[in-house]
């Protein structure tokens, strides 16, 4: 019996560690709690009893104490002389769904974690445990006590199990979303796809969409510096991105596709904020796109390119936005720094179409620079600009692209927004001239 019981505990522990699917939701974490719950579907079939007991520890239980439970004693209220002793088992990886924070201010007298505030270390991450016991009636009346060596919990009433109503099937997600989620899970969550539609107010112009997909060949690796304030972030990935018009003959949309493999390193660092006691974070990164194919959407103009690139946030360039944000009390609208980018592209034309772009322009190695800057005007209003410059060395020419946008969030939760954008200029690989003013409306459900 004892051997079988220990086997149960081992099975439950291993299954929960392996699956990571079970949520140990604590309704009220400030008091002791306990209730019968059925064994979840994903760990059935290991000879486990059909029910187990969830024990919720109070918030002020320390991590060390919670991890040093010696045993539990369970008493049937109808037969108090029979005490069931249960050996402790600790389930790591238990999940919580904490209550949202009350509408209080952030404490102003607490230095930031980067300047020395130490974490509390009290337990809330694993504040619930599961125990199993054989031959027990989950609808009965039981009392549980948790023993921590010298101390013990008060008597905890174990709430009886009440079968729930059958749940309605989840219809909230579309089939496409579900297929994507399954695909992403199969790839260990390292595949990312985003699609954004573009529409112009001018009915003569056709709709289009931007897409971006990436797959991490290795998990990003972070190497902190000696003082821990700064660090290098390395990664390897495959990516594809582009803009596609539903009418590929429409020259008002700068249609392009690219597929690439790249390796990158990024240095993340912090500097003192001269306007407050805090710190400001910036980065400087390099990336080598070792194998990139760029094309128009009909694959009539196709280039192979090799691109070393650098990108950085210019230190203190967001001070004007920060000063303005603090002066008028802007919240939830970031004063991001000026972003500067430079990339050299070695171009080898695979497929040319002189009707779309002259071969001298297409084959030309180029240097590209880009500047992106945005300012918060109010908590819901944002204005930004982006300038891209191209030097085509073989063609001895210069191309440029400019973009100006204004985004207005229409609700406090930023679920709905309207964006006006003016774009002018030419981008690789076709360098067709584009000139479009557009308005987009975004609603998040």
């Amino acid at each position: 019996m004892k051997t079988r019981f220990l086997a149960y505990l081992t099975c439950v522990t291993l299954c929960l560690l392996g699956s990571g699917q079970l949520l140990l939701a604590a309704d009220d974490t400030n008091v002791w709690g306990s209730k019968f719950i059925p064994i979840p579907d994903n760990i059935q079939g290991y000879g486990l009893p059909p029910y187990m007991i969830q024990v919720v520890l109070p918030d002020d239980t320390s991590t060390n104490q919670a991890r040093n439970v010696v045993n539990y004693t369970l008493t049937d209220d109808k037969h108090p002389e029979k005490v069931i002793l249960i050996k402790a088992v600790h389930l790591m990886g238990g999940k919580i769904t904490p209550k949202k924070t009350n509408d209080e201010n952030f404490p102003t007298n607490v230095p930031s974690s980067s300047t020395g505030r130490k974490w509390g270390g009290s337990l809330t991450a694993q504040n619930a445990e599961l125990i199993t016991v054989d031959n027990i009636d989950p609808t009965g009346s039981y009392t549980l006590v948790v023993h921590f060596g010298d101390t013990a919990s008060p008597n905890i009433k174990v709430a009886a199990y009440k079968p729930a109503e059958p749940a309605e099937p989840d219809q909230s997600q579309g089939e496409v979303v579900r297929i994507f989620e399954v695909t992403s899970n199969l790839l260990s969550g390292r595949f990312t796809l985003t699609v954004d539609s573009l529409a112009t107010l001018d009915a003569k112009k056709t709709p289009a969409f931007d897409y971006s997909a990436s797959f991490d060949l290795m998990d990003p690796r972070l190497v902190p510096s000696a003082n821990g304030n700064n660090g290098w972030l390395y990664s390897l990935s495959l990516a594809s991105e582009g803009t596609i018009s539903l009418n590929s003959a429409d020259t008002n949309i700068n249609q392009h596709l690219s597929f690439s493999a790249s390796g990158q390193g990024m240095y993340i660092y912090q500097v003192k904020d001269p306007l407050s006691n805090g710190e400001l974070a910036y980065y400087a990164g390099f990336r080598l796109k070792g194998a990139e194919i760029e094309s128009d959407q009909r694959f009539k103009v196709v280039n192979y390119t090799l691109k070393p690139e650098v990108a950085l946030w210019v230190p203190w360039s967001n001070l004007p936005g920060l000063w303005w944000s603090r002066a008028i009390g802007i919240e939830g609208n970031p004063a991001t720094p000026l972003c500067v980018y430079a990339g050299y592209a070695y171009v080898d034309a695979i497929k040319t179409d002189s009707a779309k772009v002259s071969s001298s322009v297409q084959k030309s190695d180029r240097l590209e620079t880009e500047f992106a800057y945005a300012l918060p005007l109010t908590s819901n209003l944002r204005v930004g600009t982006r300038v891209r410059l191209f030097w085509l060395f073989d063609d001895h020419s210069f191309k440029n692209y400019e973009e100006l946008y204004v985004r207005r969030y229409l609700d406090a939760k930023k679920m709905t927004s309207i964006e006006f954008k003016y774009a002018h200029g030419e981008v690789a690989p076709t360098f067709e001239k584009g000139d479009a003013a557009s308005a987009g409306f975004s609603v998040q459900f």
Binding site: S114, A125, S325
Partner: protein
């Protein structure tokens, strides 16, 4: 050291402040939608390297956690793209529940 959720909440707030994203109340930070956050940070990144700013931000969160001898298992900028319909509250829950103690 394992963080409690207040530790994570203040850490995320510190990281937001360090990129100029200010909140006066924890509840406002928790309600801030991930989708808007992605849009704003992509606007502060190069066209050819849209994810750069988000990568830096997620790296910054990991750096703050490492300072407290803790690491967030499996967390990087991909989390934001896989959770566009969530809020910063969900980020704090994810970070709390996936923290690994390095002590």
């Amino acid at each position: 050291m394992l963080p409690n959720r207040d530790d994570i909440l203040y850490t995320v707030n510190d990281c937001c402040q360090s990129i100029g994203l200010l909140f006066s109340k924890p509840a406002q930070l928790e309600a801030y939608p991930i989708n808007a956050f992605i849009t704003d940070l992509e606007n502060a990144a190069p066209t050819a390297w849209k994810t750069a700013s988000l990568e830096a931000f997620s790296g910054m969160i990991q750096l703050h956690c490492l300072q407290q001898k803790c690491y967030i298992k499996g967390f990087d900028s991909t989390w934001f793209y896989n959770n566009k319909d969530k809020t910063m509250y969900d980020l704090t829950v994810y970070l709390t529940n996936n923290a690994l103690d390095l002590e």
